[in-house]
Symmetry: C2
Subunit: 146 residues, 2 copies
DNA sequence: TCCATTACTTATCATTTGATAACAAAATAA
DNA sequence: TTATTTTGTTATCAAATGATAAGTAATGGA
């Protein structure tokens, strides 16, 4: 197994995982927000306190477009913008209780699907999967630093 | 490690992999096609011979929209449609030499980035990553059958 | 103080994508 | 044969997204 073969395997795996992600998320009903807006909420939830610029950088979208989507999310009462007293140009973005509730519901729906997906996995299987994920996380995360 | 913890780990891993995929593909310059069209070409390349209905099903898009994108790709001379003599309603979609060349170039660009990504990986690391990918593929693929 | 930079907003435009209706041709079932 | 299903197309329409110009306010450096 050389690095070229590993690349081939990696591509195939990515396709499988992408398909799996689609299956896991397809039952989440998000009538009020778009996929992009969901990704933004997801990022805010994971990062807890973020600025518009950080969202813009991490989700690879322009600041004007980020600003527009954040305004829409604020209009839907899903996020709050709080002025940063340290630097009054900045605005800290947080989920509102409503936004948090929406994300909690989405995640529990996804988790339910995930559990169905691995319902036949034994404790040994779970340990093996976790170990595999750890290996990949370590290698990919450490590689990102270069 | 119970299944709930595994889910948390899975979500974190998915985020990392998504970010990695973006990094790998960001240097591919596709001035002539959109992301969706690239995904269609990718699917055709992997599957070799497919119909519009198969693309529609696997990429989760409606048949009219699939038909429209295939027409655009045909206009760009990247794919061919060949009538199926067995069933004259069907059309087999294939990459043209130009389309194949475009995909080959894209993939070699992505592979180049991938190799940079794992440039510090030893043969032992490569084996460990491959083993981890195999474990996940097996579990996720077998889970999909249920 | 003055100037450049940063953080963010508003406005506008083109393009992409998703959804749906209506249609035609071929295959299949009744 | 007739009806139904399958495969694919064209034509619209609305919505989402991406890109860019222009502007405001705050910060920080010279």
């Amino acid at each position: 197994m050389d690095k070229h073969d590993l690349f081939q395997q990696f591509v195939a795996f990515t396709t499988t995982l992408h398909e799996m992600t689609h299956t896991l998320t397809q039952h989440v009903k998000l009538d009020q927000i778009t996929t992009l807006q969901y990704k933004i909420l997801e990022y805010i939830q994971v990062s807890q306190a973020v600025t518009a610029t950080e969202i813009s950088d991490c989700l690879h979208m322009s600041l004007p477009n980020t600003s527009r989507e954040l305004r829409k999310l604020q209009e839907k009462k899903l996020i709050d913008k709080i002025g940063d007293p340290e630097d009054r140009r900045k605005q800290v973005i947080r989920l509102t209780p409503t936004g948090q509730k929406l994300m909690d519901e989405a995640f529990s729906c996804i988790e339910e699907q995930f559990l169905q997906f691995i319902q036949h996995a034994s404790p040994q299987d779970v340990a093996a999967i976790s170990q595999a994920l750890t290996v990949l996380e370590q290698h990919f995360f450490s590689a990102r630093k270069y």
